[in-house]
Symmetry: C2
Subunit: 331 residues, 2 copies
């Protein structure tokens, strides 16, 4: 990081004029131990699962949309496919716990832990053993694909409710500050969602006191646990990981609670429109690169941020220094 | 725009969940008259010129940096070259009025109107005839390159001072609200810069009252006038134009004063760290895509925004609709 910072100061531009891209290039050097980490093999991991709480009127969309969207990902018709093609990233879709039988497909990783979680308003979403298996499956995904840079993504009707509950449980924040409209529920739906999160925190209070793994199992989700695994594995193997939006933020917060060094490897892609997301980023000490009012998930924010991350590294390595270019440095 | 908005509503995502990229795709349809405007041939026009006011201690860098940086652009070692390579854009460098003899180079457009402007603190920067020739040269650049999308860029020691004066003259804003640190002047330099702008507004008061062309000639710059031409030509030929930072913002404001329809074709790339830039964007009715504390110019912000613009168009055209994908729309 020292070497990167010293080089930034010699490049042909006023010091600091590339703003947050300068800090980013220095952080990437710290993450990877290299000034010029390769970022060619970028993989968006879009993890899908269902949520028991979806039956309680917390989403604007019916539950069958989860498997329908998985098929859409596999056909290349979803937003994440289009953006990944534009920015030069690959999409890997994993079924972590969709409540449907999905057809075999060469691009689908079949890692179903169980068919959806139990409703967090009535008890734990899953057992701690299941949460551990989901985390491990996420770790194996990274190990198997061996990407230069990891991008997180999610799909699961009901998962903003689980993510809000997880964020409240880990931070102590009031549900009214964290629960947003997700896919676009109306006022009545928002009240149901807030009530569901408050109830989930009450019902699972004992588990939440036991620490991050029990909390994840109690109020999280199978794709969220998989994302925790992705992030922990990225950090352990010194790979940068671009964190998508609200759901990925909940996973990032959980990963940080399990491994205090994990945030060093995180790059926040965007500030989601979803309520409470800004507070998550603040807790993680991360500043997002984009602020486009996105609230789609799938990894779309992470993929849109990838060109900025690649540009930051190229700028550090390919720009001429004042000496090389014969440009006068200061008056 | 109606057709684009209707299609956005049928794509497989919650309405509005792609945030500002949805509005952008609709605006681009309005600009070009197409849902799928080609954006392949993207050209960053980096226009360079010198400023008489640079002799008055308003910049952290000496005046010879302008020609030195032009050579750096031609060798591919500047930030704009690196970013353009990453995002797939071409850089066209034009000498609009550098106060030095530059060597012939196949990638340099030699359009020198004069060797630098006169100091705006003592009189007009240039004559109206010179300003008109610079605007016309900017128009010809676009016509000659025939790009799908225009990106604006600048280089010129002293040009944040001229841009601040131009912005104050066009908006009536107080110099203390508009003048920033540019390449990084200290407190003393900032006071000199504010005083220079205040003096320029006083000295050129009669010209400023005559309208945007006389104002541009009085307190602007040769590269700024060239940028005005780029923008006017882009708007007239229905090409989108990505506006870089503070200097390009001053040119955009001038173009808007000359042609009230021009802002319809403008895409604001980023909110510059430079003071007063946010006010310029507000006057133009534009919301920037990036907020990265950039303050370099050259077209770097515009080029960094290009992948977002391309992604917005691809999303509108390549995403599956709910019907096509067999995804349930709402509960």
């Amino acid at each position: 990081m020292r070497t990167a910072a010293a080089r930034q100061a010699r490049l042909t531009k006023p010091t600091g004029s590339l703003g947050r891209l300068e800090d980013l290039s220095i952080r990437l050097a710290g993450m990877t131990g290299r000034l010029d980490p390769p970022l060619e093999r970028a993989v968006v991991f879009t993890l899908a699962a269902d949520h028991g709480v979806a039956a309680e009127g917390v989403s604007a969309y019916p539950r069958e949309v989860t498997p329908q969207m998985v098929l859409n990902f596999l056909r290349g018709g979803a937003a994440i496919n289009v953006i990944a093609r534009e920015v030069g990233a690959r999409v890997v879709v994993a079924d972590m716990g969709v409540d449907a039988d999905l057809p075999a497909h060469p691009e689908l990783r079949e890692l179903k832990i169980r068919r959806g979680t139990g409703s967090i308003t009535r008890g734990p979403a899953m057992t701690e053993a299941e949460a551990t298996r989901a985390i491990d499956a996420g770790r194996q995904l990274v190990a198997g694909e061996d990407p230069d840079i990891v991008l997180t993504g999610d799909m699961g009707i009901g998962n903003t409710t689980a993510s809000a509950a997880l964020i409240c449980a880990l931070t102590g924040l009031d549900p009214r500050l964290v629960v947003g409209r997700g896919t676009g529920v109306d006022d009545e739906g928002l009240r149901r969602k807030q009530a569901a999160v408050a109830r989930a925190l009450e019902v699972n209070d004992a588990a939440i006191r036991r620490g991050p793994l029990a909390t994840l199992a109690a109020v999280g989700g199978l794709e969220i646990a998989g994302l925790v695994g992705l992030i922990l594995q990225a950090a352990e193997t010194r790979r940068p990981v671009i964190i998508d939006g609200f759901i990925s933020g909940a996973a990032a917060l959980t990963a940080a609670a399990m491994d205090g060094g994990a945030p060093d490897y995180m790059i926040a892609s965007h500030r989601s429109h979803e309520l409470g997301h800004a507070m998550v980023l603040e807790r993680l000490g991360l500043q997002p690169l984009l602020d486009l009012d996105l609230r789609l998930g799938e990894g779309t924010g992470a993929a849109l941020a990838l060109p900025l991350v690649r540009a930051a590294v190229r700028l550090l390595n390919e720009m001429a220094t004042f000496d090389e270019a014969g440009v006068s440095d200061r008056a």
